[in-house]
Subunit: 387 residues, 2 copies
């Protein structure tokens, strides 16, 4: 990345933390052994993997045996969904959750309010005696809106009591995707009240295609990738040791920096929001401002062509997003903003700014000035065309 | 790895080639963008991925759209097996193939002869009108024995003609796992006559958990990991760019060095085999010596405790294998050697030596001396105990 570039798309991708890369480096060079081999140098690699597993478990309040290392959050999610029965999720989940849910027939996709929040009562209403899985992401990747997972967990726990009363032996589990929440919110599985949880290395300055599925020890899942029996038989394949070590370090660093980083990001977010609100009366802030991750700011200028703005900003070395990166090259309106009931002219006029550890208040000062000027120019151009 | 260690377990794991690590490095640092993002630096990453795809395609004689990047050979194999219908494979395949086949009910596991070769006529006999997939690995990881994939392909092609005659519209495909054959044998998909092929980065000096599934464009597979739609919808999840670039380089280097490396490895293998045969009248060479990969030498001393030898050699800084690494920590006899009809005292007395690019004739000279001494000592000890 050229030095002058101001990257404001950390929700799409993060660079490797220098501690993460340093932790990985020995496993990319000298320590290349197959952790299943019987000799001592290989057994030491096995110990390194297990120490990382224990560290991740400690961070999220789980047992080491409940940590499954996968090749990415999408894989973790697909594994979590490899369960029989009726599935419930929300309309604003990441494509990985939506598509995994669609592999089940008859899945229920619960709506959200105009701020992007799901009402736990709507989830309660969708539960049938056959429901086995409810999946609600903690922080939305397009808006930063956080869901009340604890309230959803209460619904699940009530349903469990109902089933005991009704002699219904069907288990019901709560899965949450915390890809955008690690290093931002509390991800202790007991405090959240979840049975399965997906973590994503690629969004927290760890290696890409690294993930964790936390799987409560009471749950009996079937693998989607069978073979040598690694990861308790739930993810076969010789372990990518460097990536596991890197992921562990990424989670450790994220948790260590969490408190100070959240405060810093909050200031940065309010700084940019303040400047934009001062400059544009028509500005619409998207998401639930009371329950929003500080690393994402999604706003809209109704009627603006946000895609043109994205490229105009890029030509001035500022990188931002419209909708999620995964959907960006598909020429369709964001399913998240659509589910929130936003009008097409608001959706098409929306930009997502997302902040990361390297983002400074100076960056925001510089970027805000250029963003304001660019949008004013584009707005005036639009007005001239319409006249 | 300490300098004095002589590693003879390249079939279990290979170190990263320095060219591979160098190719990956920019994507582990500056070039971290999400390849689905719309701005230019991200689009350049997309181009880099597509160039790698084209290069892999060229190497194996396929179209770029037929190359699916996965997180490892085990995943590639599980994806190839995600097909309805009757499945046929051999009893000596890698655990990934055997377990993927077992996910299908009623799969057929064809036997092999005492040299580990499958008779294509046995595969022909196992085919039913419902058979959709036949999977035969090119080089066995425990013995180095190569199968006659072209003859198997002929069986499949004959069956296709039968089905046309019999108005049976069921497709039938041939998959081969070439994890142990890249850089050793010809892996051109047209010349082999295969419809699907699994490549493994971890065994060819590439990054671990990197794989390719070659998928002939006529085949309609369902994904096992759904989501954002990457890799033609067959392997969702933001791409691990560094690993893809590294895998591409590993395949390129392996193919470039193939001819000279095969000659070199053949000499090394014959050097060790010669010394062992000279030293031990009772030595049994396992596998088909007419059709064997030069990077693997599996031999047995009937009645010897190979596991004790492994650790005795380790204490003298020589690392070797007994059976495959994946099975080694499961305390069961090798399924490969068992399927070959070898007696338990031969299986328990077998060692696998596997050679790689860093292995020198000097290494083999040093190692052979220690191996011979160690085994003679152990044999004498055993004789003393029995007396």
């Amino acid at each position: 990345m050229p030095n002058k570039t101001i990257y404001l798309d950390y929700a799409a991708a993060t660079p490797l933390d220098s501690n993460v890369l340093a932790a990985m480096q020995p496993y990319l060079t000298d320590i290349f052994y197959n952790p299943s081999a019987p000799y001592q140098p290989a057994r030491e690699v096995r110990v390194d993997i297990e120490n990382t597993r224990a560290s991740v478990a400690r961070t999220i309040g789980a047992k080491p045996t409940e940590i499954i290392f996968t090749a990415g959050a999408t894989e973790s999610i697909n594994l979590a969904f490899n369960i029989d029965g009726h599935v419930i999720t929300t309309q604003t989940e990441h494509a990985a959750v939506l598509q995994a849910a669609k592999l089940h027939s008859g899945s229920t996709f619960v709506g959200v309010n105009e701020k992007g929040r799901v009402d736990p009562r709507d989830i309660k209403k969708s539960i049938t005696p056959q429901t086995t899985l409810v999946s609600v992401g903690l922080v939305n990747n397009e808006t930063g809106t956080a869901q009340d997972i604890k309230a959803v967990a209460k619904v699940i726990s009530d349903e469990r009591q109902n089933r005991v009363k009704n002699d219904n032996p069907t288990p019901i589990y709560l899965h949450t995707d915390v890809s955008q929440a690690v290093g931002i919110l509390d991800i202790n599985v007991a405090r959240l009240g979840v049975d399965m949880m997906t973590l994503n290395g690629a969004k927290i300055y760890g290696p890409k295609q690294t993930g964790v599925l936390y799987l409560n020890s009471s749950i009996d899942l079937q693998p989607i990738i069978a073979g040598g029996g690694q990861e308790r038989g739930l993810r076969s394949g010789t372990e990518n040791v460097a990536n596991i070590i890197g992921l562990g370090m990424a989670i450790e660093v994220a948790e260590r920096k969490r408190k100070t980083e959240v405060e810093r990001l909050q200031k940065i977010r309010l700084q940019l929001l303040g400047i934009l609100q001062e400059s544009f009366d028509e500005l619409i802030v998207i998401g639930d401002q009371k329950h929003n991750s500080p690393h994402i700011l999604t706003v809209a200028w109704p009627g603006l062509d946000a895609e043109r703005i994205l490229f105009a900003l890029e030509s001035q070395d500022i990188l931002v997003a419209t909708g999620s990166a995964c959907a960006a090259n598909k020429d369709t309106r964001s399913h998240v903003l659509t589910a929130m009931g936003l009008e097409p002219d608001i959706i098409d006029g929306s930009l997502r700014f997302s902040f990361g550890r390297p983002t400074t208040t100076q960056d925001i000062g510089t970027a805000a000035k250029i963003i304001v000027e660019t949008i004013k120019q584009e707005r005036d151009r639009g007005t001239r065309i319409r006249q």
